[in-house]
Symmetry: C2
Subunit: 379 residues, 2 copies
């Protein structure tokens, strides 16, 4: 787990620091283990991503897992498309700094191989993994290894029987999950989580809500095939924002057609924006308008880069004018409000100096690092 978080036992998803209205507390879910982590049961929401290297390229995959960890990923999933990848999985898992989940489709025997290779979890797609006898074998093996199973329904790959009975909507997705959950639970296996993903926000929101009314299993949230780093991030933020604000979701993955590190950044931004978890600085900066007399886009980028390694959950404001600048500065840990050729730096709302434009970013960094050094890791 990363530095700054609190238990979600009474998670104030729409809380207002004392204002009290509109709270939508985390819905109670079963706590399950996933490697060293707990998913559900009111624990902090876990951030996941998925590698896009070839799963048989050990070096590239480990490098990418390391990069994702540095950005805040806590669990990483790998596609395991064939037997060769399944055998190589062991080598990756033995060196991975994060618990690994193996993504299995079509062939349940791949699951048996990666379980022996150290998978912390499996993701099975009920739409394509085969009949109950195969699921039972996988669940029994997972139970022996202490691995978790995600029943990962995808609205785009429901099996034919489910579609003929329930159509393509949220009920079909939920029934697909429940059917596989029942088979797994009959073996006595308990460490199950469920995901109900589609590329449609409304469908996903409805399916996750419906499932939460029928089951106490923890849920992994995501929008599948969301799109590129721009539109996909927005679509994921809309869906996950709605669900998390309703108190739903125990772990999240943002899916983007982009490097997985971008997925991790986006996931943290979503959690940060709802005050569910904090990691590193939160940046606020004004949209430049006709009042702005400095190159704020450039300045804001420079500040963000200078502070990119900070773990402390500071609020950093970069403001371009005197209308909103001082007000926002008063609520930020460190802030700058720019003007023509110079600007003012604030710490905890108090002005600490006026500097020429070219020194603003470095002075802000200095103050931010000063505050970050005082941070104890609790927040």
């Amino acid at each position: 787990m990363t530095p700054s978080e609190s238990s979600r036992k009474d998670r104030p998803s729409l809380s207002l620091k004392g204002e009290g209205s509109l709270k939508s507390p985390a819905r109670a879910t079963r706590a399950i283990r996933l490697g060293p982590l707990t998913i559900g049961g009111g624990q902090p929401i876990v951030v996941q991503t998925m590698t896009n290297t070839s799963s048989t390229d050990v070096e590239a995959t480990l490098k990418q897992i390391g990069d994702c960890k540095a950005r805040g990923a806590e669990v990483v999933r790998l596609a395991v498309p064939d037997e060769r990848a399944a055998h190589i999985f062991k080598e990756i898992a033995s060196q991975s700094p994060l618990p690994l989940v193996a993504d299995i489709h079509f062939d349940y025997r791949l699951a048996l191989i990666v379980l022996k290779g150290g998978a912390a979890g499996l993701r099975l797609n009920p739409g394509n993994i085969g009949g109950a006898d195969k699921i039972v074998k996988v669940a029994e093996a997972a139970g022996k290894c202490g691995a978790a199973i995600r029943v990962g329904v995808n609205g785009g790959s429901l099996d034919k029987k489910i579609k003929s009975l329930y159509g393509h909507g949220p009920e079909a997705m939920v029934q697909s999950a429940l059917e596989q959950v029942r088979i797994i639970e009959q073996t006595g296996f308990r460490d199950i989580k469920v995901s109900l993903k589609s590329s449609e926000v409304n469908l996903t929101v409805a399916a996750v809500n419906l499932f939460s009314n029928l089951s106490d299993l923890p849920q992994h949230l995501g929008i599948t095939e969301a799109g590129d780093a721009k539109s996909g991030a927005v679509r994921s933020a809309v869906a996950l924002g709605i669900l998390l604000s309703q108190g739903l979701g125990d772990t999240i993955r943002v899916s983007l057609t982009a490097p997985p590190t971008e997925e991790v950044d986006c996931a943290w931004e979503i959690l940060r924006s709802l005050d569910l978890r904090r990691r590193g600085p939160r940046f606020i900066s004004c949209p430049t308008c006709g009042r702005c007399q400095i190159d704020l886009e450039k300045l804001s980028k420079e500040v963000k880069e200078r502070l990119s390694d900070l773990q402390a959950p500071l609020t950093v404001a970069v403001m371009g004018c005197v209308v909103n600048g001082p007000g926002e500065a008063s609520m930020a840990d460190v802030a700058l409000a720019g003007g023509r050729g110079k600007g003012r730096i604030f710490v905890k709302g108090r002005p600490v100096g006026t500097y020429p434009s070219e020194q603003l970013a470095s002075q802000l960094e200095k103050e931010a690092r000063g505050l970050a050094a005082l941070w104890t890791g609790d927040d």
Copy 2:
């Protein structure tokens, strides 16, 4: 208004095309006019942005307004920081292809000047515009000109009296708005909308909800000082996604430290993701994973660029493998599912051909343009 939309009288914000659960219909608001547009009263949600050129640079500002219109902006706001800008506003308004809102702070006389210059609306900040006598003068002048007024509260610039009475929370923001609304309404003026923005998602969500319980005025939604094109887009999408899914909001502006055209793209992506409005293609593409055998990020970018001028609300899927590809393809208007060295094109779920990788984007474009040509403008 842009091509594809429906009245929001019974807006199915979480509707599921027949599934019916979880609907959160648009809350009833008063309809007001803003230039040629209607805001509120169940009409489609209007997309706004704000120029960041100097408001005294007529040519650059008109160019930017045109660029924003091409991306789907329907209203543009300009900062009017001083008397010179207020006088030049007339020249811009007379040539603008979109209705203009003038952003006024500190000096109410600037409002009187831009009203004569053709402003479709004013944005006043109750935190800094001065006493009731000044507001009354502005409202009377706006009434004569047929212009709308937005009471635009910013959590970072509340006035001292409000802060001493109500603190910094949602109630302070709402009371600040209501106080100014009362003053304006006493003059008989009716075309008022309200915005309650802060840089905090939870605070904004709470304030907008609280206001909607106390007033039927239409609301303009946004997160202020949201940040750069990445984190700001995510934070805005979380906040606006939550509020729109609750049936709140009549017009939106995404504020980014980035060109205003990016704000417009983000606003449309939010509306599109909730099926509230459609404009141009909706792209879905899978996160590349270890199963992917083509350069999907590049291919998806190429497809997006090729179709960037389309107005027809097509769903376009670009998929990298056989696991989710065919399923998603079956739900898209046009789709491609890539493989090693070649891929298959689908139209309305039916495969129409297999092509080498380098022809996939152009073939997909051809099929998309074929479908778009059949589009009548209703959807």
